[in-house]
Symmetry: D2
Subunit: 350 residues, 4 copies
Amino acid sequence: MSRNFKSDNVTPVCDAIMASIQAANAGSAASYGGDDFTQRLQTVASEVFATEVAIFPVTTGTAANALALSHIVPPYGAVYCHDAAHIVTDECGAPEFFTGGAKLIGFPAADGKIAPERLASAIAFANDMGVHHVKPGALSLSQATEWGAVYELSEVSALAAVAKQHGLPVHMDGARFANALAHLDCTAAEATWKSGVDVLSLGATKNGALCAEAVVFFDPARARDFERRRKQSGHLWSKMRFVSAQLLAYFDRELWLDNARHANAMATVLAEGLQVLDGASLLQSVDANEVFVALPEACVAALERQGFGFYRWPLSDTPTGVSIRLVTSYATQRTQVDEFVAAARSSAHG
Amino acid sequence: MSRNFKSDNVTPVCDAIMASIQAANAGSAASYGGDDFTQRLQTVASEVFATEVAIFPVTTGTAANALALSHIVPPYGAVYCHDAAHIVTDECGAPEFFTGGAKLIGFPAADGKIAPERLASAIAFANDMGVHHVKPGALSLSQATEWGAVYELSEVSALAAVAKQHGLPVHMDGARFANALAHLDCTAAEATWKSGVDVLSLGATKNGALCAEAVVFFDPARARDFERRRKQSGHLWSKMRFVSAQLLAYFDRELWLDNARHANAMATVLAEGLQVLDGASLLQSVDANEVFVALPEACVAALERQGFGFYRWPLSDTPTGVSIRLVTSYATQRTQVDEFVAAARSSAHG
Amino acid sequence: MSRNFKSDNVTPVCDAIMASIQAANAGSAASYGGDDFTQRLQTVASEVFATEVAIFPVTTGTAANALALSHIVPPYGAVYCHDAAHIVTDECGAPEFFTGGAKLIGFPAADGKIAPERLASAIAFANDMGVHHVKPGALSLSQATEWGAVYELSEVSALAAVAKQHGLPVHMDGARFANALAHLDCTAAEATWKSGVDVLSLGATKNGALCAEAVVFFDPARARDFERRRKQSGHLWSKMRFVSAQLLAYFDRELWLDNARHANAMATVLAEGLQVLDGASLLQSVDANEVFVALPEACVAALERQGFGFYRWPLSDTPTGVSIRLVTSYATQRTQVDEFVAAARSSAHG
Amino acid sequence: MSRNFKSDNVTPVCDAIMASIQAANAGSAASYGGDDFTQRLQTVASEVFATEVAIFPVTTGTAANALALSHIVPPYGAVYCHDAAHIVTDECGAPEFFTGGAKLIGFPAADGKIAPERLASAIAFANDMGVHHVKPGALSLSQATEWGAVYELSEVSALAAVAKQHGLPVHMDGARFANALAHLDCTAAEATWKSGVDVLSLGATKNGALCAEAVVFFDPARARDFERRRKQSGHLWSKMRFVSAQLLAYFDRELWLDNARHANAMATVLAEGLQVLDGASLLQSVDANEVFVALPEACVAALERQGFGFYRWPLSDTPTGVSIRLVTSYATQRTQVDEFVAAARSSAHG
């Protein structure tokens, strides 16, 4: 663990969540979500988001995103998103497969945040093209973005306004939603439906769970028949209690926020430690738990040799050196960060 | 638990498997199956099946079946199966969705076992129809069958021979494969590839796991690109170690067979206790862990009133009374069975 | 032509329709349905059906059926139909492909007509099964049926009533709709929306066109976005005027009915001539333009030797001899029918 | 016609092709391609391409492209193409739908021609990403390109070489293949398989046919089961003879090339006439039958007022004025071109 900054998905399960799984393991329970844990989750999630939601636990982020999109976008629809969005580059075509043919239209943007004008002009183009082009279907935002930035509430609202003006629902890929929320320091409601989000892919796996994600509809009516999609795609668990139990623990006593705050703080420490090095430059704003930084090639190579885990991550605008991505998590310890920074410093000065 | 015979999926996780999950929860591990547990599973599974297999853990039986079929049947293909097969009636169209349009062609058969002549004549019909009809694509067998019977090895071989004569691969839905294997008292190799099975959906969840199924290819070359299908359908876990750890424990020291033997034995005791009652008749052979029995309506109603859990399960040939399904599991205790039989007896004689 | 009773799709194009195609071939015209012919077709079709319809020309019956069903049934839905329906046996999985996974649930019925109780009990079964089973999605009727019978209006209404009671739309596969209408001797409105039909696949190709079918929605609001589905499946013609021109000629001065009446009459003559032969028995009611008849094997073989075209068509209940299918068309001449009957008579008595 | 430069799909059917349709309309013929015309087409096409091909007539370009791609790219695959390719912007998601989820990855390029380095680096990216990203599936080239340029043979070969180096098949969208061939003045074999093309969408509709396109496989073994895909998507015509007859006429005595040469020549005249006008600038190379030209706004408006048909076609690099697209065809007359140029000249000088 100690040297692995590759991703927040290399982490173990945090204690409270593992305890909750074990507590759920008593006697028989109704299968397929008929159990008490899953029922309670509906209530708890509605409290967390301060409105009645329909929440559907699944076990991978790809499933959450693809299922959510397939429920709001027709096969002949377009999903507008960032061109480095997880749904574009990291899900092996899952959104296209689940929707039965929808097209992802990705916009470039240096910081991973879509510009409202881009969205507006893409919709206008589609409307001009008429039946020949895919129909505007949905807007999908990643919060936090793939490059570690967090949309301000006003940015989310502005994008959602363009979408809604054209009748498009808004999806949020919240694989790292807790990290974003911790950064924004607002309520979960403000970060989502109060800013115009209609459906959220809520991640917990990267933030301490074993396998827990959820699709959250802020208008339960919109979720009609969603459980069929989940079933048809093989994502309805028989022993559902064990996913729901993870999410209950996740929300309990703000575990999700505590974990995320810690991860974010570690990223900040890491960024601050690295950016002052000779030849280093921070490439993205560090709002959540990811650090994109350019370091001299010799420094990167030295860190690799010393066994630190991270990815070389080519960004288009790297000024000099080699750009790498470092991810912190709930499990990252301050000493690990310090160790990394120290190693980088000695390499940089070597 | 004590009164719940609804399904083997209402059971908790058995101790050895939960212990294995916890043991896997130490430090960071490579994600998406790059971990040691998943690597080891390849070796262990190859030992279990006495040949080099390619094994892909997933977490639901529907996913296992639909993914397996989508890999061996084209969108314009036919899957031949029993008309009460799980893939036909219980997966909400998952095979059709995953394959992109294949058609399931179900054969009726009183005991859940497909007759080779049925298969042969359906293939002949398709060949006569040519391009207008779906192309013969695969044979899918459920072992144990949906009605609790187990195909003899010679029956599997005979069906596989018809399939192979026409170039069709053979899929086995082994949601209750361990129960079948325990009944057959043969090797896992004999029950599968030595009898002509090409790909197995191997279930563990009903037999003690938290969420562990696997797709097993007996010719690894046939599995080419299968990992893409798993990913595209959202079934590639990031923290894969926790599924693989379940399967490792499942195979370890024959846990899977011990669990299955116990479940089967409890079903036998249950069947023997019930069939001697006045007005009772056993409707299906009790080879595995399911009992289909007809009881007088008053008796069934009394059992329901007393809080026993089971399904009324209409079969076409119920002679008199009401047919019900009772499922035992690794967790069923002898006292529970005795209690059920006693309650049935007193109702029947009431 | 003269000896070919294989199908009504082996016929040439009738004169009026070919003339209409040529008349449309003057100068440039807006593409993709922006032309005058296609615009006029909307008006004409609305007159024919005595209500405002939305009509979408396509060029194959499989496209019409699959597109229509994909617009009214979700991927996780069930289509209830006869088990020998064209959509089940003759479209190579097109409905499954276009819908993205829906399941066709076929009912057996000796005369090709679905029984309302069958439909009701299948819906009840699905509702019992809940999320595990495909959701009741639509009823699809073939009119005329695959076996040459025609549903009476009261039969259509009774089936539609069951469907509607459960919220299901009703699709009619009218590949031979004109033949049915000619038999029923009612209005097109009575045969469709007044009897509960929501969307019609209207065939013209078998009844004199070159390549003209259409999807007709009786509630235009239900057709929303249908043009996208047609485009996405490659069924939007650039030179649409040439399909629309066929349909305009088809409706003009009752050409469609005249053609169908002739075809039906020829089938009646054929049936009457054959059924009196020694060893012959009519297997189905001859309401439209198909004759299913059992003849002695020697007679069938002799007809084949003499070069008559027809299919051997095994039906489950053939009493004795060999069952064959004979199809008449707008182009069938009385002398051809007489010749066939005479040949059969001499063979039968040979 | 005379003033319509909107597209080559607004044209009528040319005489020789209409005559061929009528000649095919004699008596009965085997349906679904069992007719003599379709059989002969196999031979003729093999002669045209100087190798044994498998040719499958369909009736829209979208169908040809989507079917071809679905046969060579898996659901989890990537199709590399230009970002303004017809398959990307004008087919309403057909390739995604037919493939069951494949992703189109479009490259920008000023002249519509993909650069080999772009292709190579996209494949390298995909290989780096592994299972998370769609798998490199195929290269698709438009010949002529959407912007009226024609790839030189060496350009096709260079791109195909990159594709083949990574095992990818090469698809050519030849909606205007005849125009390209006329420009290249080489053999059909040189323009396709001798340059590395594996499957061609061959267009005829824009070049004089009523509704005739074809998918041509240069290795018939690769076409295995393709007829099932065509059927399943509703693109197998019952009266196939009428499509095949169009294609036979198209190839006969070089009709296709004569038509294309004329269209290309008219485009050249048009371009030469316009580019000398004050304020005019040619935006793309005029290799085939499309002219992209920038004209002063006043001039464009005047042409529109006078009833000339064409599209305003925003290109990213229009220097000044308004960019428009003009398409010529086999049916364009020299007087029409002269009339257009004269009108533009007087407007420009107005």
